[in-house]
């Protein structure tokens, strides 16, 4: 099979009625079963506050879906303070029989063209998958990657109850006012950063394939907010770590106390944290608690498992602007970890 046979596929954008076919096809990635996959699709593309289904590209062999690449809406504030719509590439999946046939790049190039037609100047991809290599080979720019830290801990079962312990409150429902205040205050205003407001966080925490665990700290004017994340298909007994996707506080001490409380109380056997954006002092705190760091090596074959940001300008020009290509100019507060999965 070669590119000539790829031309026999129907490659087109999403149409109403494709939802269930997508939910079935994406079981390979989403693993939630038809009902939950459908809910996830609707959440991600139909209930997204910034963009609809217009950036979904599908490949059909007759009536059978064999490939998908999509972009979901994400609103950013660039380092000049201008709000930008930079969708994130997501849910890239090609049926096994079409792998190594060029279909993935064909779909991705269609997506870039589609974004351009919709007046969008840039696509982002937070990938830690091998597909990133194909993207780099085809002109995508790598901004990252960045390191992570993880800690094996005493096993905890899933906890769905709400409890209060001194100044801490644990819940599966977020305090949005507190989250917006602390997370937006934690952002570097001189960086490219995601818009954080109540609307965004309400949508983000409604992800039907995610389980979120919220820890709050309140003592007078000292406040803190931490989010733990797992997917609904991750069993607490399994090996998938619980990711601390957000942790913001009014002081370093409160931040540290939140992390310590999270290690004690979050479900699972392991806690994972991104190091991007953490100060030296905070990384030292993690080390003192026993977190093991996985740092970048500069070697593609070792770093491909780390989180990364890749991007592509839709005009096809090579991105050289330091505002975008330097990792230090990006702030990932509010989107960290597996929060969009």
């Amino acid at each position: 099979m070669n590119k000539v046979q790829l031309e026999e596929l129907e490659i087109r954008t999403f149409r109403q009625g494709d939802e269930m076919v997508i939910a079935q096809f994406q079981e390979m990635l989403w693993t939630g079963g038809e009902e939950w996959n459908l809910a996830y699709f609707r959440w991600k593309y139909e209930q997204n506050p910034y963009l609809d289904t217009r950036l979904i590209v599908l490949a059909f062999e007759h009536e059978k879906l064999v490939g998908m690449v999509a972009g979901f809406g994400a609103n950013w504030i660039d380092s000049n303070g201008v709000t930008q719509q930079w969708p994130c590439v997501s849910d890239t999946l090609v049926s096994p029989i079409y792998r190594t046939k060029g279909l993935f790049m064909c779909l991705l190039n269609e997506l870039i063209e589609l974004a351009k037609q919709n007046g969008l100047d840039r696509l982002l991809d937070f990938g830690d998958q091998p597909a990133g290599i194909a993207m780099l080979l085809n002109g995508w720019k790598s901004v990252g990657p960045w390191g992570t830290a993880s800690l094996k801990k005493a096993f905890n079962l899933e906890g769905s109850e709400t409890w209060i312990d001194g100044n801490f409150q644990y819940s599966t429902t977020p305090n949005l006012e507190l989250a917006v205040m602390l997370l937006s205050n934690a952002q570097n205003p001189a960086s490219n950063r995601h818009l954080i407001d109540k609307n965004y966080l309400t949508w983000r925490f409604a992800n039907p394939l995610a389980k979120y665990y919220f820890l709050e700290y309140t003592h007078g004017s000292d406040k803190g907010f931490l989010v733990g994340h797992r997917t609904v298909t991750d069993q607490a007994e399994g090996n998938t770590p619980t990711t601390i996707t957000d942790c913001a506080a009014t002081s370093q001490l409160v931040w540290q106390q939140l992390i310590e409380k999270a290690v004690q109380s979050l479900p699972g056997r392991e806690i994972l944290v991104w190091l991007k954006g953490l100060s030296r002092e905070k990384i030292d705190v993690l080390s003192s608690m026993g977190f093991c760091q996985k740092n970048i090596t500069g070697q593609l074959t070792k770093d491909h498992v780390l989180p990364n940001l890749m991007m592509m300008k839709t005009d096809g020009l090579v991105d050289t602007d330091s505002q975008f290509v330097e990792l230090d100019n990006w702030d990932f507060t509010g989107i960290c970890g597996r929060s969009w999965r």
Binding site: T100, F104, L136
Partner: protein, 83 residues
Amino acid sequence: MYKMDNIKEQIHDLLLEELQIRVDNDQVDMIEMGLIDSIGFLTLFVGLEERFGIKVLDEDLHSPLLSSVSGIEKFVKQKKQAL
């Protein structure tokens, strides 16, 4: 241990042993021909690093050399000379 004059032979061995890819023409574009995908490249890079003691970096992927056997040979030689 490899010799500079059998780099190409080593690359062919690597492609065949690790990826079951037999390339008859050293100039052929393996991406264009759909012979290799991302996971294949990752395997290829690990093999190149192990056999030749080089390091493949993100920016190396912008090199057009990596799509053919003769290009990969040049890439390895450049990397070796830079060590």
